[in-house]
């Protein structure tokens, strides 16, 4: 279990890579070769995170070693406190490494001995049911004192459990692919070095965030990924829109950070500790005792989630953030950073579960925000012509889906969706980047079309990812989306009907708008100029890898019944088994719904109908005759069978148009004119009120009163000037007179 206890190495490597690239990149290494450093570092952490994931699975499979490991971990923490409490400096990274190696060589051996002995038994008894297993798999924490202040100790360390290693694998994998992809995509860029430096820094920050041991580290990592996002959105800072977008992203996130700071402080104030493990344990040990404080904390943290994960009403920055380079959009604004909010909810799930009463309610703030965001994002995706913006709204929508899932208590489904979504959304973004790379750096779909024949690799990977996103069997999205819908239907003690409706609608809409994108981009006639060409291998290989994950990603959490025919029931619900922190959640009484075939069919049906409807719509544009024929087949059972234009009318003017025109546009209008305007107005009015206060209060009242005092002195001086005759004797008269008067006063007083 060495990797789990020394997980701090994982963020350290890209951090070093960042420093090396930044300080030696241009001079020593050479601008054209800095990606080697970045890729090496990220490959290394990819391997390490796989090792960590493997060791975690071992740990879960053989829980008998938990007790031993737990003790050794505790010792470990203490050791650190003693050894490093005083002299932590720049070198504490090295010290860590050495110490760990020495301390744990022995424990390690012992653990293994036990593990192997009991392996078989556990694998049977533990996971036979496929779900609802009450496996207690304590997290591995190791930390040392970072700083202390007024009797409060702040620790720095790692908190490794299934959720952590899952995110580790996701971040490392996508980061690696994006690093490779970028060598071609941003080749020759003026700030190639800075680009790779920031990618490394982002990776480091994200990993640091993911394995934060305490909430202060969460805040630190949260802010650091934010600033990397700022730097990368504004990568081409010569153009004002890019810097505007970067500023908007950072400031919107900062608004959420108010909630983050306050929420975390409330948690600290309530539980008197910063440790995530301790907070979660405390809540799950006695749920409900701190309900009000948790409600406040959860509401505050929800604001942070809304800003970082693009939830209504703070989502507006995310589409603008597409001003950054496309690989960055894939890595940061689709797959990893924006899920930080979702991750935080999952990480501190007891807080939200208790705070929002997820277990007992049938609607709550988090579920509603998530569901509404999902619906709204999907609607907005119809109205966009910029391919990246469609994908951005799609991301907003899918993040809403995850938040909604967490809101209805479907923890595993949300994390599973996070996992699958990361791959297919990264694939879509990189695909869009590939398209733009081919078609003269435009993202406008009206200037694309017909690219299918020019760039088959891009086309097929894009289609696979689209199907995955739409939730078509057997692609990854189908399994995760299905679990979310199921979770919304079943809920905990009561179902979440509204969320179910939202979820279904979104499933339909997602399929529809993605089909639209595929149509405009790859089918029809090429509407741009020049000769589009397929991207080089260094770009298509990452696409195929991601597409592969989009294809098979669902296998990581297959429900039991599906596997039963193959006799592989033991492999069901792997994500749930490994990732779910049942040590916390079991105390809350979180339950898992039974797999439901009907629900899966409904979800699939919605997605398919979305695709079909859109497909028909665009096909009609291709040739009315074909559409008519098709209509006759497709709508054979309908009473308006003869009236071909009626369907046309229905699709075109009622369903599509109503989605496309009034709903999407009004949503867009609302987005642009109300929310965005509110943000802008808030900014402007803050500036105006700043100006006003500066002019009237600061310069007018406060400074004015100071100046008025000076002026008063001046005028009174003018008046007194007449006394200044310049004649000595007048002065003498005043002097002696005043002395006499003073003397009289003294005589009278004393």
């Amino acid at each position: 279990m060495w990797m789990l206890e020394n997980a701090f190495l994982i963020p350290l490597i890209p951090a070093l890579s960042f420093a090396v690239i930044l300080f030696f990149g241009k001079r020593v290494i050479g601008s054209g070769r800095v990606h080697l450093i970045g890729i090496t570092a990220v490959s290394l952490i990819w391997v390490l995170s796989l090792v960590a994931a493997f060791q975690w699975t071992q740990r879960v499979e053989h829980p008998s070693s938990d007790a031993i490991a737990q003790i050794s971990v505790d010792d470990h923490g203490d050791d650190h406190g003693d050894d490093h409490g005083d002299d932590h400096g720049d070198d504490h990274g090295d010290d860590h490494g050495d110490d760990h190696g020495d301390d744990h060589g022995d424990d390690h051996g012992d653990d293994h001995g036990d593990d192997h002995g009991k392996a078989a038994m556990h694998s049977e008894s533990g996971h036979g049911g496929g779900h609802g297993s009450a496996l207690i798999s304590p997290v591995v924490t190791s930390y040392s004192k970072w700083w202390s202040n007024g009797g409060v100790d702040f620790a720095i360390g790692t908190h490794v459990d299934g959720l952590t290693v899952l995110l580790l694998v996701v971040v490392a994998s996508i980061s690696l692919l994006v690093h490779i992809y970028s060598t071609e995509y941003v080749k020759g860029d003026r700030r190639y070095v800075h680009y790779y430096a920031f990618l490394s820094l982002f990776t480091a920050a994200m990993l640091f965030f993911v394995m934060a041991q305490n909430i202060v580290q969460l805040i630190v990592g949260w802010e650091l990924v934010g600033v990397c996002s700022f730097g990368l959105i504004g990568h081409w800072w010569e153009e004002k829109p890019n810097t505007d977008a970067a500023l908007k992203a950072f400031l919107t996130n900062r608004v959420g950070d108010i909630g983050l700071l306050v929420g975390m402080i409330v948690l600290w104030g309530t539980f008197g500790t910063f440790s995530i493990d301790a907070i979660n344990t405390a809540i799950s040990a006695s749920p409900g005792t701190q309900h009000f404080a948790l409600l406040v904390a959860a509401c505050c943290l929800m604001a942070a989630v809304a800003s970082k994960s693009g939830q209504f009403p703070l989502h507006t920055w995310l589409p603008d953030a597409m001003a950054g380079p496309t690989p960055v959009s894939a890595l940061i604004h689709a797959a990893t950073m924006v899920v930080a909010g979702v991750y935080m909810i999952a990480r501190l799930y007891p807080v939200f579960y208790d705070g929002f009463s997820i277990g007992t309610s049938s609607i709550n703030l988090m579920a509603f925000i998530g569901g509404f965001t999902a619906l709204m994002g999907a609607g907005l995706a119809f109205a966009q012509w910029d391919i990246k913006k469609v994908l951005a709204y799609s991301t907003v929508s899918q993040l809403g889906y995850m938040v909604m899932a967490l809101g209805v208590g479907a923890w595993t489904a949300a994390i599973f969706h996070l996992f699958t979504h990361a791959f297919f959304k990264a694939c879509l973004f990189l695909g869009a980047g590939s398209v733009s790379h081919a078609a003269h750096h435009t993202f406008d779909m009206r200037k694309m079309g017909g690219l299918k024949k020019f760039m088959p690799h891009t086309y097929w990977t894009f289609v696979i990812a689209t199907l995955a996103l739409s939730g078509i069997f057997p692609f990854a999205g189908f399994w995760s989306k299905d679990e979310i819908l199921l979770g919304a239907k079943v809920g905990q003690q009561s179902g979440y009907p509204l969320m179910l409706i939202f979820g279904c609608a979104v499933a339909f809409m997602t399929a529809a708008y993605m089909t639209r994108v595929v149509w405009y981009t790859f089918h029809g006639e090429y509407r741009g100029h020049g000769h589009p060409h397929e991207s080089p291998k260094v770009m298509t290989v990452p696409l195929w890898i991601l597409a592969g994950m989009a294809l098979v990603g669902g296998a990581f959490n297959l429900p039991g019944p599906v596997l039963k025919p193959f006799g592989l029931e033991g492999l069901a619900h792997r994500v749930q088994t490994y990732a779910e922190p049942s040590v916390y959640l079991s105390g809350l009484g979180l339950s898992h719904p039974d797999p439901s075939l009907s629900m899966a069919l409904i979800g699939l049906g919605l997605a398919l109908s979305g695709i079909i409807v859109t497909y028909l719509y665009f096909w009609r544009n291709m040739g009315p005759k074909g559409l008519t024929e098709r209509n006759k087949y497709a709508k054979a059972g309908y009473t308006f069978l003869e009236n071909k234009y009626y369907l046309d009318y229905l699709y075109n003017d009622i369903i599509v148009a109503s989605i496309k025109k009034p709903i999407a546009n009004s949503a867009n209008w609302f987005n642009q004119n109300v929310l965005d305007k509110a943000v802008n107005t808030a900014g402007e009015s803050a500036r105006d009120s700043g100006r006003w206060i500066y002019k009237w209060i600061d310069q007018g009242a406060i400074d004015g009163s100071v100046n008025a005092a000076a002026r008063g002195a001046d005028t009174s001086g003018e008046g007194l000037r007449t006394i200044q005759s310049g004649k000595v004797q007048n002065y003498g008269q005043l002097l002696f007179g005043a002395a006499a008067v003073l003397a009289i006063v003294f005589v009278i007083v004393i």
Binding site: W147, G150, E223, W237, V255, I265
Partner: protein
């Protein structure tokens, strides 16, 4: 307790070496310019060397005790003594002050602003250094007051002679404002002298801060305490500067020469907050509890107000000056909580603000030197024309808006955190409201700083400067800036460097406050 041998001399050396250097410079003829400068730099570096010696010699195990104490007769007739000593609270500030002056000398080596005369410029900086160093180690109120006032005069001349267009107005405003505060402060000192009583009820009649700290305002009725505190509050509050007393700051900063601004931001403002922690709160704990809600209120008003003020500025230097108001608001909020946590945060905030805002002023000064303007709308594309400076500005901006991992965050975040659980006798609801307001202030901080950065560094250079070849960061600038940059990162990554030092002192202060509150 008193130091012996060489240790008895180190603090005196650290304080007066620059003054000795200044005196030597005075007798060297102006024509020997290089020699004059070398003497100045040498003496300030010697003082810094003494500071580093102190750093190694300091007993970190008992950082709450005064060390290197010297207690000699001075003005016997008013029972004022030459008492100096150093504890964990003074050490970081003394070192900051010792560090900043030689860097400022290096920075202005070849760039003494108009009207030139490096000899006088250097001499004034060295005298300033003596005043600042002395203020941080004095343990006698009259001695403190003398050093506190020594600081004023060189600053007045620095602004008034080497300043910008409106220098006369600004320097006079600075001088009179601070003097007004000092007048109230000395009255409060005298009141403390006459009214303080020891535990047995005998009048103390002393200016010795150690004794007054032990007395903790015993023998003074609460109403009187509140009034005395008011005098100290205005005296120190002006220096900080707190919200309604801040108007001298933007003018002084805007008009001052670069190093003047740097020293003003890095050290001078800290005299006010240091005074609160060292003098006002421990001497009059009861009054401090009575005043704390108001201090907190003014602090959060300052945070929001300073930020809004920044949003309205057109001049870069003025914007940075206003940001000082906001940042010192966080420091004051930490102080107002009267918890050891908050006071620690305040000290950290002081050091962090000193480094970061000092850095920002350095960059602003260098921009002014190259572009001859600081009007934000005329600048732009710094990253393109002077990339290194643009990066440094970006770094300082990020540090200033409180990015974790850099020093600014550890001043802000613990200050906000401390407001959640204010000290004994303070209203939790009130301070939690302050906490939320302060958190909102961080957003505004990000707003104005990034807005500044966007307008100045991003984009293309404006047309009027597009064709000019503008030199990037020079060697002297690197020498002056690198310690600042290292400090910002170092304290950001390892905040315990400061928290460890100050913790002992402030916990004894707050323990005192709590004991007094509980006892009455």
């Amino acid at each position: 307790m008193e130091a012996t041998g060489f240790d008895a001399w180190v603090l005196t050396l650290a304080v007066f070496l620059p003054l000795v250097g200044a005196l030597i410079m005075m007798v060297v003829p102006k024509a020997y310019e290089l020699e004059v400068k070398l003497i100045g730099l040498g003496s300030s570096l010697a003082a810094l060397a003494v500071g580093i010696y102190i750093l190694f010699q300091f007993d970190y195990g008992s950082s709450s005790e005064l060390q290197f104490v010297v207690d000699k007769g001075w003005i016997d007739i008013i029972n004022s003594r030459y008492i100096i000593g150093l504890d964990g609270l003074s050490l970081p500030l003394l070192l900051l002050s010792l560090l900043v002056v030689p860097l400022c000398l290096v920075y202005s080596w070849n760039h003494v602003p108009s009207p030139g005369n490096p000899k006088a410029f250097f001499i004034l900086l060295l005298i300033l250094s003596t005043g600042m160093n002395g203020s941080f180690i004095s343990q006698d109120m009259i001695l403190f007051f003398v050093f506190f006032e020594i600081v004023l005069l060189p600053m007045y001349f620095l602004i008034g002679v080497w300043g910008g267009e409106e220098r006369r107005y600004a320097s006079l405003k600075f001088f009179l404002y601070t003097l007004f505060g000092s007048a109230l402060m000395i009255i409060s000192f005298l009141a403390l002298f006459f009214l303080s009583k020891d535990a047995a009820g005998n009048p103390l009649q002393t200016f010795d801060m150690r004794l007054l700290t032990d007395a903790a305002g015993s023998g003074i009725v609460k109403t009187t305490q509140v009034w005395i505190f008011a005098g100290l509050f205005i005296g120190f509050g002006i220096k900080v500067p707190m919200f309604p007393f801040h108007t001298w700051l933007p003018d002084a900063h805007t008009q001052a020469p670069t190093v003047g601004s740097v020293i003003l931001a890095a050290v001078l403002l800290k005299l006010g907050t240091y005074g609160f922690i060292r003098i006002a709160i421990p001497f009059l704990p009861e009054a401090a509890v009575a005043w704390a809600p108001w201090i907190g209120l003014l602090a959060v008003i300052g945070i929001i107000y300073g930020a809004l003020g920044c949003l309205a500025q057109k001049d870069m230097k003025r914007l940075i000056a206003f940001s000082s108001v906001a940042h010192m608001g966080f420091v004051m909020l930490g102080i107002a909580t009267l918890t050891d946590f908050g006071l620690n945060a305040a000290v950290f905030g002081m050091v962090a603000h000193g480094l970061i805002t000092g850095m920002l002023f350095f960059v602003a000064g260098s921009i002014k030197e190259r572009y001859h303007t600081l009007e934000i709308s005329r600048l732009g594309g710094l990253l393109k024309s002077v990339p290194r400076m643009g990066w440094i500005l970006g770094f300082a901006t990020m540090a200033s808006l409180g990015l974790p991992g850099l020093a600014g965050f550890w001043g802000e975040f613990p200050a906000i955190l401390s407001a959640y659980n204010p000290g004994a006798g303070l209203s939790e609801e009130l301070f939690r409201t302050y906490m939320v307001i302060a958190a909102i202030g961080t957003v505004l901080a990000a707003g104005y700083l990034l807005w500044l950065y966007q307008r100045t560094a991003f984009g293309e250079p404006t047309e009027e400067f597009a064709d000019h070849a503008i030199p990037d960061v020079s060697r002297n600038e690197w020498i002056a800036w690198v310690p600042f940059l290292i400090g910002i990162v170092l304290f950001g990554v390892w905040p315990n460097l400061i928290f460890n030092l100050t913790d002992g002192v402030v916990s004894s202060i707050t323990a005192n406050v709590e004991a007094v509150v509980a006892g009455r």
